[in-house]
Symmetry: C2
Subunit: 556 residues, 2 copies
């Protein structure tokens, strides 16, 4: 039961399956936005493709249940997108999704996986268009929107397909069971094992990384036979709408019901996520977003398997280093990148109050804190670099939060400022706010303050830094942690304590690698070991519960 699309992409799949086992560096989709790779006109075509979407209704051809139009996206760079999407009658849409299930299931593993791989391949070809869509919904700078929204997101999708394929192949389709039950007597059963998808899956998208966080769940569900209803964040619909359109095209071309994937858009003033999440038809939910709603889903949508990536408090521990400039330069980039709007950005930076060793010499707390501020200042000293690295603030509430944090009495080491973006004069750009406090002020730093807000916290010593980092991770959740130390034992102790608290820890990063980056096929994103989420992108638990194996046996 092979399938031409499976054969076409078999090598990519094989390489991906090898990569998830070995976990070295590997990528299927080039991250360099180069004309040599993507075609000389790709950049212009992508921009034109994006612009052609603006101020128009976005049609999802053949998707039933349209009862109106919805869509109020405004670019964090200024202009309203003016795109409207189908507003759907939920009953009709879910009926269509359910109706698509049996044909998709019966297609078999190779056809489903082949179609998924072809969708990813086409998404890759459209990376420039997707980059513009991601940029003008999330506020990411163009380069980041291209990489994280395009090839890196596609890699994450492929990783989910590889895990799903690997998982489905673990049980044979058939087996012969022959047992001796007497001297010369045998019982023989021919057994068959069927992959039965769980049902209709719902992907609830986020506003900051709609594709990177959305693709894993979407592709894991598709590969395992579950039709997917894609419910984007009202502020970042376009990247997922384009993705759904591309996926439906591939499905149609290969003779499947395009309603295997559907778009369910809504608006901030008339949200429908709660309504759809508790529908009995919905059997799998992938969610990325705030903790409050994630916790509600986990407790309430008990008819479904709920996989969440929520929020957390990431920490950085400074103990000692050889080259302070390398440390502060690396950290400054992490703090500035996309204005701290990554679920992996450090928020709390712990430094011993009596300072730390730099090379042979002890530098005071204030010297270190000052060096961090200076490194951020340098990073933003060139306006073009500043706006490319910072991007724009996705959500107005994040701007308000900066003001709130600045007014809570912590010493301000670096003021946040609204700065201009030459290309987009209306862009919502605010530089990082850096505050100073000490270990006693838990009410300030033991909570998530999403956005370009960080606390440099004076601790008694590194042991206390580690304890507080682990406590934040255990109580508030954490996806990442980082530490700089020249002492092997200190590094190990910190890594062990943070592993127990479920935070992935990066040690002594310098150069072109940052604590907030997670690479598909190698890094596990979210450990599921603390409140930051109950699922990991990607591991076998992320895919295995999306289907059951139902057996039959015939006496022969």
């Amino acid at each position: 039961m092979s399938h031409p699309m499976f054969e076409k992409h078999r090598k990519t799949l094989d390489d991906a399956c090898k990569a998830i086992r070995e976990r070295g560096y590997w990528s299927a989709y080039p991250e360099v936005p180069s004309g040599k790779i993507y075609g000389e006109s790709a950049k212009d075509d992508g921009l034109a493709g994006f612009q052609a979407r603006l101020n128009k209704p976005f049609a999802i051809e053949g998707q039933p249940g349209e009862v109106g139009r919805v869509g109020h996206e405004v670019s964090p760079y200024g202009p309203a997108l003016g795109v409207t999407y189908p507003k759907s009658d939920l009953d009709t849409l879910l009926r269509a999704a359910q109706g698509a299930l049996s044909g998709w299931r019966e297609a078999g593993i190779e056809a489903r996986v082949g179609v998924c791989l072809e969708i990813l391949h086409r998404l890759n070809k459209r990376s420039f268009e997707l980059a513009n869509a991601v940029m003008h919904t999330t506020g990411q700078g163009f380069m980041m929107a291209f990489q994280a929204g395009g090839p890196h997101a596609q890699d994450r999708g492929l990783e989910a397909v590889a895990y799903a394929y690997d998982e489905m192949m673990r049980t044979p389709e058939k087996a012969t069971w022959r047992k001796q039950v007497g001297k010369e007597e045998f019982v023989t059963l021919e057994k068959r094992y069927r992959i039965m998808p769980r049902g209709v899956a719902l992907t609830i998208g986020c506003s900051t990384f709609p594709t990177w966080n959305g693709y894993p769940g979407i592709f894991a569900s598709l590969a395992t036979g579950n039709p997917v209803v894609v419910k984007p964040h009202p502020g970042a619909i376009l990247p997922l709408a384009i993705s759904v359109e591309i996926a439906r095209d591939v499905l149609k071309e290969s003779g499947f019901d395009p309603n295997v994937i559907t778009l369910l858009a809504d608006s901030l003033d008339a949200p429908i996520t709660k309504d759809v999440a508790i529908r009995p038809e919905i059997r799998v939910i992938d969610y990325t977003g705030g903790s409050e709603f994630g916790n509600w889903l986990e407790k309430t949508a008990t008819q479904a398997i709920v996989l969440t990536e929520k929020a957390g408090v990431n920490t950085m521990i400074l103990d000692s280093c050889d080259d302070l400039r390398a440390v502060t330069g690396n950290l400054a980039f992490s703090l500035c990148l996309y204005s701290g709007q990554m679920c992996t950005t450090p928020q709390n930076i712990f430094i011993p109050k009596d300072g730390m060793k730099v090379g042979g010499e002890t530098k005071s707390f204030d010297e270190i804190a000052g060096a961090i501020v200076k490194a951020v200042d340098w990073m933003l000293s060139d306006p073009r670099r500043a706006t490319e690295v910072l991007g724009a603030i996705q959500n107005d509430r994040t701007v308000l939060r900066i003001g709130q944090a600045a007014g809570e009495g912590a010493e301000i080491l670096r003021e946040s400022a609204k700065i201009a973006n030459e290309a987009f004069p209306e862009a919502r750009v605010h530089t990082p706010l850096i505050l100073k406090t000490d270990a006693s002020r838990k009410e300030l730093f033991m909570r998530e303050m999403f956005g370009p807000i960080s606390y440099i916290i004076a601790t008694d010593n590194t042991d206390q830094s580690v304890r507080l980092a682990a406590e934040a991770s255990r109580n508030c959740g954490a996806i990442t942690a980082g530490i700089y130390s020249t002492n092997e034992a200190t590094l190990n102790r910190a890594v062990e304590a943070l592993a127990e608290a479920g935070a992935a820890t990066s040690c002594n990063l310098s150069g072109q690698i940052f604590v907030n980056q997670a690479a598909a096929f190698s890094d596990f994103h979210v450990s599921s070991g603390n409140p930051a989420g109950n699922a990991t992108l990607c591991d076998s638990a992320f895919v295995s519960r999306r289907f059951s194996v139902v057996q039959s046996r015939v006496c022969v």
Copy 2:
């Protein structure tokens, strides 16, 4: 980091890992209770060992928090066991379990798996003692108590260890990630992936198959590093208490904290399961038992991963056959075995009201129903065979349910009768009740009637039989289904419909293989695809969520 116990049992593990991939017949522990295999004195020693337990306190040496004694087990064969177990202070016990976690985690995969394999090996040597304990708590006949309570349960435990090992080995301990970031520039990260157990696990035992249903969760949790608190059903403590004792001995001998596994006993009049299940320390729960409590756990114990095997309505569809005697003989054994107290026993038998083809000839509904009754009568015609096959009724409420079912107006085809067991005059033995009804009386058969109660249901035709069987499975849950048909297309249609409803279907069973039997390493027990349970014994989803992989990376 190998371990002598791992090396000792490595071949068993390798064979088990191969078996779960190939799913043909394989077993590690001989099911024949023969002196040649288990030692000439094994049977007598086992009985003596069991008898030495009676009317005494059962000590769990070194388990902290004992604040009294509890235990009121009464054999379904008559005598009270008179065994008491520690009544534990929950705070102390959970603290001890938590205290055992880090050492057990740090032991590493091979040490943990080696210890599990040695425990299983020793359980196997004690199969006769365990058989007596299972027999006199569950009411199973001796042969079944030996097989299902001993070697088959051990096989299920081994299967869980194999899945856990396989799962933990899917991610390497270490990887080097090297990415080109410039013309001649590379970033290299040394990554480490740590298996982090979820936390303290709770196994909630059942009264009918304490070891067979308990071992998979216990061993899956142990192998993945989670200390296990074993909370047996108050009516069937002894088999799990002996198992815990053996496990603690092996742990102690190999230098581990024996509180990696603890016994938490309670009584029917002072149940503690709800209290312990919602404790924040409990992060994994394995449950086998009634649906009501299972549903409560799934909805309430949201701090834990909850894996359930609940109840259901299993069905048998009769469409056509060549040899009626082979069919009714096979079915009669399934109905009689352990008095229908298996979660896999058929309850509803659907037959077309106009009868069915047997060989060339059509036999009427009443002829077929009569043949089933006759086959049951024959099975029970020899008193020794009758009592060995039927065993005894575990719970008084099951006896009441027989009376209730007989009094609800359905035509009685076969009366249930209390019969004598020569060896145990006080034994609670009741023969199967068989009722006749038709497809319209859903209030009778669309509900679980646990015990020796079955309905022979007249349907319009086999299509309706299949529809009703699938409906029962979808709405009430079902673990098994069976069909007899000489028509290939009918078989396929039924199997497909039942697979969609999540029921494992057996076709045309005859001879020494029965619908209520599930073989480790080959049969998946519970599909998780209907309300009969949300977990499967065993598959990778059964083990993968018991740990998370937390990574660290160091820049080099």
